[in-house]
């Protein structure tokens, strides 16, 4: 029982991550019809917003001690972080909370990157074949990766979470069960809550604002909306920016769970495409549902009891489920007819 509950928690937090990344992708891919292979790179850039902020906050004043030499003959360095010399205690708090603080940095940065990407490159490709969208966005992804590698190296860079959230929560005890049976890391619970909040915010934005309504109308019938004198292009640019922000903050919050490196985006890219397509093209709820479904199934497939029956099932479960769903439901879970079918 406890094993099942724990895997359910795993599935929810994994699913939250998948849904969040897929949400951003589906905004551009499922609605604007642009196959964006650079979406994983946006996730990665978000993660490196957190890395960069922490680097800035922990910049150290280096004093060389020429009396004491290191084993390799250079003077020893005495390092004191600038923030602590300037702000004292408050500086330490800033460093401690660097990951959540990075969200404040990531939102404007990712917005600018997203809009620049759309205006500078992607907008020329709306009417071009999907094949060329793939090539240009894949090329862009490689360039972004290499730039990050140039500045941050290829090794993963650890991003500690705030100390208050470092441990694990006794979820079982909270639910009135035996203590110490169902413990789950605080940060994973936070990530799940965070993803639900962001997803809800995006839905509300599209559902209840005029802007959102126009965008939805434009998604359904771009030409008509254009004809009634609305500048749909501008809205689409904004959508691209929004997608970049969603991907970025998803990346920021993920860093404590997975020390980021420049290659992070590519690892998520394929998975995200599978999630979006299983959810059904053009459907935001579909992407979210598929994210959670695949996350939960993946968790359960990884249990030893399941692996004993079908060896290697945890290696292929996502793809197997994708095949089954696409064969049973031609347009994924909630796909619209005619989107990206030819």
């Amino acid at each position: 029982m406890d094993a099942i509950l724990l895997q359910l928690l795993n599935g929810l937090d994994k699913g939250g991550a998948y849904a969040l990344i897929a949400l951003g992708l589906t905004l551009v891919f499922g609605t604007l019809g642009v196959v964006n292979f650079a979406h994983g790179a946006l996730f990665m850039l978000g993660a490196f917003c957190a890395v960069a902020l922490r680097k800035l906050l922990t910049l150290e004043k280096v004093v060389l001690d020429t009396e004491n030499l290191t084993a390799w003959g250079t003077p020893t360095e005495i390092r004191t972080p600038y923030v602590e010399t300037w702000f004292g205690e408050f500086g330490a708090v800033l460093v401690n909370y660097s990951v959540p603080l990075s969200i404040l940095v990531a939102i404007p940065v990712m917005l600018v990157i997203g809009v620049a990407m759309e205006r500078g490159l992607i907008k020329h490709f709306y009417r071009r074949p999907h094949a060329e969208q793939i090539l240009v966005t894949f090329g862009l992804a490689i360039v972004l990766q290499e730039v990050i590698k140039h500045f941050f190296g290829a090794n993963p860079i650890p991003q500690p979470m705030p100390e208050n959230f470092a441990g694990a929560a006794d979820v079982g005890a909270m639910l009135g069960m035996d203590p110490n049976v169902i413990v789950y890391p605080w940060w994973r619970l936070i990530y799940f809550a965070f993803s639900v909040a962001v997803i809800a915010a995006v839905f509300a934005f599209l559902q209840f604002t005029t802007f959102g309504m126009v965008v939805r109308a434009g998604m359904a019938d771009r030409e008509t909306v254009g004809l009634i004198g609305i500048d749909i292009d501008k809205r689409f640019t904004a959508m691209f920016g929004l997608a970049a922000v969603v991907a970025g903050v998803a990346g920021v919050m993920y860093t404590p769970l997975l020390p980021p490196d420049y290659h992070l985006g590519m690892d998520f890219l394929v998975l995200t495409f599978v999630v979006v397509v299983v959810g059904g093209m053009g459907s935001l709820p579909g992407a979210v549902a598929a994210g959670f479904l695949l996350g939960i199934l993946q968790s359960f497939a990884s249990m030893t009891e399941v692996k004993d029956i079908i060896p290697g099932i945890d290696q292929i479960i996502i793809y197997l489920v994708a095949v089954i769903i696409l064969l049973v439901r031609p347009r994924g879970l909630l796909g619209r007819k005619g989107v990206m079918e030819s």
């Binding site: 724990l6 003959g73 250079t74 890391p185």
Partner: protein
């Protein structure tokens, strides 16, 4: 050594004639040069070219960059530039800083991408196009095994870089391949007694294992050595390579009754699984009245960097660490640090040593002719290279030397001071009979 002195062999005539038929004058230079050479890429000018094949893209790019730094340093030292590094401490040594056999050392580089295909393509380029006489480098066992077997076919010596699987000098060993790095068997044998001292003999271990060849051998080695000290193995679970999030494999550990988690992971897998295991509160846990412990059989400083604070206090094993106080290590750390401003990683160390050992073997053999160089390396005993007295065992081309048991440093004095050496386990304790892994070295002479 008929191939060497006699005229062309039957096979070569056949091949040459057939090639001549096919190419019909398109590439006459290639055919004539094949006749003129007694062995592939025999250095004719005043330089000798070595091929450094390291990962430059992909997850191990930083490790590859460090290997390349070590190689460049080794070339400098061989050519008599810089402070000489381990040339001054190596015993016995025939190296004089005058290149190899009087020829200046030049080098070419390539990107393995940590993929066997790409690594072989890159090695082939260095051999076929750039005339490399020896290939070295790499950061994974898959690549090492793939390149090693290629080098056997090509008749080019391969000095492996970082590769830890038993297979490299076990079932996939080759006459032309040599490994200075240690292997999973040695990691297990070295860790066993230390684990017994530190954590007692009544422990229940849970293994998470990377689902590929290296992981399998690492798991086997750890299982054998922990069961030998009386531990019980609760479960062994395979995890997909590059899984990223390991939470679904960690939660079953929580209530399994195990009190030790052994992570048979390397590279990013290890960084991720360790980070996540610590977040699940495993290290604050009490099971069976004992503190829950995590063990990572193979460590490196670069991985420790990636895992951050989570590595503190964790036991593992390593081939070498810059904090070693012997003369050889200090000489190497000093000249590496002087050139690059930071200490070398263990991957850099093994690559540097391999280059020097190859050069020295050529000097001792008095020729670059690969079969003679191989014979010079086989059974060679040396010292002063940072691991104490070492022997290249002739039966499997594996170096035997002491192995380090290390622990994540709780109070690092610098950003590089991440591992402390707990014990230098002597060679006798980690040695094994080459027969247990099978494999066959193959011939000295290779038809070209």
């Amino acid at each position: 050594m008929t191939e060497r002195n006699d005229g062309p062999s039957r096979r070569r005539v056949l091949k040459g004639a057939a090639a001549g038929l096919v190419t019909a004058g398109v590439a006459p230079t290639i055919i004539t040069s094949a006749y003129a050479q007694e062995y592939r890429n025999k250095p004719t000018g005043d330089t000798v070219t070595l091929g450094f094949n390291v990962p430059q893209t992909g997850p191990y790019a930083d490790e590859g960059a460090d290997e390349l730094r070590a190689y460049e340093l080794a070339v400098e030292h061989l050519n008599g530039e810089g402070d000489g590094g381990m040339l001054t401490t190596m015993q016995p040594s025939n190296l004089t800083g005058n290149g190899i056999l009087g020829k200046k050392v030049a080098y070419v580089t390539g990107d393995t991408q940590t993929k066997s295909d790409a690594a072989r393509a890159s090695a082939k380029r260095m051999i076929e196009k750039d005339g490399a006489l020896m290939i070295t480098g790499g950061s994974s066992s898959g690549v090492a095994v793939a390149v090693q077997s290629l080098c056997q076919e090509m008749g080019t010596i391969f000095m492996a870089g970082l590769t830890h699987s038993d297979d490299t000098t076990g079932k996939d060993k080759r006459r032309y391949g040599f490994r200075h790095f240690f292997n999973t068997y040695m990691s297990g044998a070295a860790l066993g007694p230390v684990l017994s001292d530190e954590y007692g003999n009544e422990r229940r271990a849970y293994h998470l294992t990377a689902d590929y060849n290296w992981g399998y051998t690492q798991e086997r080695a750890m299982k054998d050595s922990t069961e030998a000290i009386g531990w019980e193995t609760v479960n062994t679970v395979k995890t997909p390579v590059g899984a990223g999030d390991f939470s679904q494999y960690i939660t079953p550990v929580l209530n399994s009754g195990a009190d030790v988690l052994i992570l048979n992971h390397y590279g990013r897998d290890m960084v991720n699984s360790l980070t996540q295991a610590v977040q699940f509160g495993l290290r604050d846990k009490q099971v069976n009245g004992k503190n829950f412990e995590i063990v990572v059989p193979l460590f490196s400083r670069l991985m420790a960097q990636g895992a951050g604070d989570n590595i503190k206090g964790i036991l593992g094993s390593a081939n070498w660490n810059w904090s070693l106080q012997d003369e050889g290590s200090q000489a190497f750390v000093k000249s590496f640090g002087a050139k690059y401003g930071f200490p070398p990683s263990m991957a850099a160390h093994t690559c540097y040593v391999q280059t020097l050992l190859y050069a020295d073997a050529c000097e001792r053999a008095g020729t670059f002719y690969p079969p003679d160089v191989i014979r010079a390396l086989e059974g060679h005993k040396f010292d002063g290279m940072g691991n104490g007295p070492t022997e290249y065992r002739a039966a499997d081309h594996q170096c035997f030397k002491s192995v380090l048991v290390v622990r994540g440093n709780a109070n690092p004095t610098s950003q590089f001071d991440l591992l402390e050496v707990v014990q230098e386990v002597p060679r006798e304790q980690v040695e094994y009979d080459p027969a247990i892994f099978g494999g066959e070295l193959g011939p000295y002479e290779v038809a070209m």
